[in-house]
Symmetry: C2
Subunit: 186 residues, 2 copies
């Protein structure tokens, strides 16, 4: 997850760890902020795997870039390939809150069919949750703790909203695809 996000950001511009973390906060709308304890190990993993590489010490001329201690990373060709693969993957784990959010953040780089698969998968997942909550609220009725019931109600409302939101996105995708069956503009 973090690795997908890092590759996505480095795809746009080289950066160092600290900055990546800030960017991530912006891109993911604050719904997710990875800790340094995740970030730095991830950067090392990616480097070891050859998906990113550390930029050499910068030109001493450009003083702004040469702050001591900074380690600037760039994405490699292999990294771009892997990124494209990951973007298009779609499975149960792709549909959970976290992973879906990250995928959406890089959706404009995702091929149209993969976008569709991911949106529909997410919809199925949210619908399941919605049905689970519905039946939990239906059965039980009074015997369940009132706070739990409130929580279920909030969850049900938000699932319903998200399904509607997904329906709109999906409808949009379809419309766009009708207008431009090849890779849609972005």
């Amino acid at each position: 997850m973090l690795e997908l996000a890092i590759l996505g950001l480095l795809h746009e511009a080289s950066a160092h760890g600290y900055e990546l973390r800030k960017q991530l906060g912006v891109r993911l709308g604050g719904f997710r902020l990875f800790s340094y304890g995740s970030l730095y190990p991830a950067l090392r993993r990616l480097t070891r795997a050859g998906l990113i590489a550390e930029d050499p010490a910068p030109d001493p001329e450009s003083a702004a870039w040469s702050r001591r201690g900074r380690r600037v990373y760039r994405i490699t060709a292999e990294g771009k390939e892997r990124f494209a693969e990951m973007l298009s993957e779609s499975g149960p784990q792709t549909w959970d809150d976290e992973s879906f959010g990250v995928h959406l953040a890089f959706f404009s780089r995702t091929p149209a069919e993969a976008r569709m698969r991911i949106l529909e998968g997410r919809r199925r997942a949210v619908e399941e949750r919605r049905e689970g909550l519905r039946s939990a609220l239906a059965r039980a009725g009074e015997q369940i703790d009132r706070y739990t019931r409130e929580l279920h109600q909030l969850g049900l409302d938000s699932s319903e909203r998200e399904v509607r939101w997904l329906n709109e996105l999906i409808e949009n995708e379809r419309a766009e695809f009708r207008d431009a069956p090849e890779t849609p503009p972005e």
Copy 2:
């Protein structure tokens, strides 16, 4: 988090691991389901800490209880104490989605003042998120990726809803407290 949930469930009835996990799914309205890889280590941790204890092999008479391999746990006096402490704790981490959900699931065992602190803390946290999303949507406007903007919009809507939901709960608490200043019934 898991430990709080386990203590809470065992407070109500002794149980074995597999069953605890199922119960957790019900109690938390499916919004959270811990894996076995978390559960069994947690049970061992709690046992080592003396907060729960393994029930001795059950009376061979009661066949239903004596299924081989089952390890039934009960909460100890120390565990009950610790549970009460944990319930009333309130800090930034108490206010994140997961932790808040678990706390809410055992809210009827939580003292009124602690309930208030937790609800208000959660409200502050959600309001912060809401403001962050609002300003992200305001600035940028067009330059941000449209999918990201959609995600932000969904997040904003759901924060707004949750704040309203929290306001109602808080108002309820206050009303209840006015009617019965000592420990409210439940």
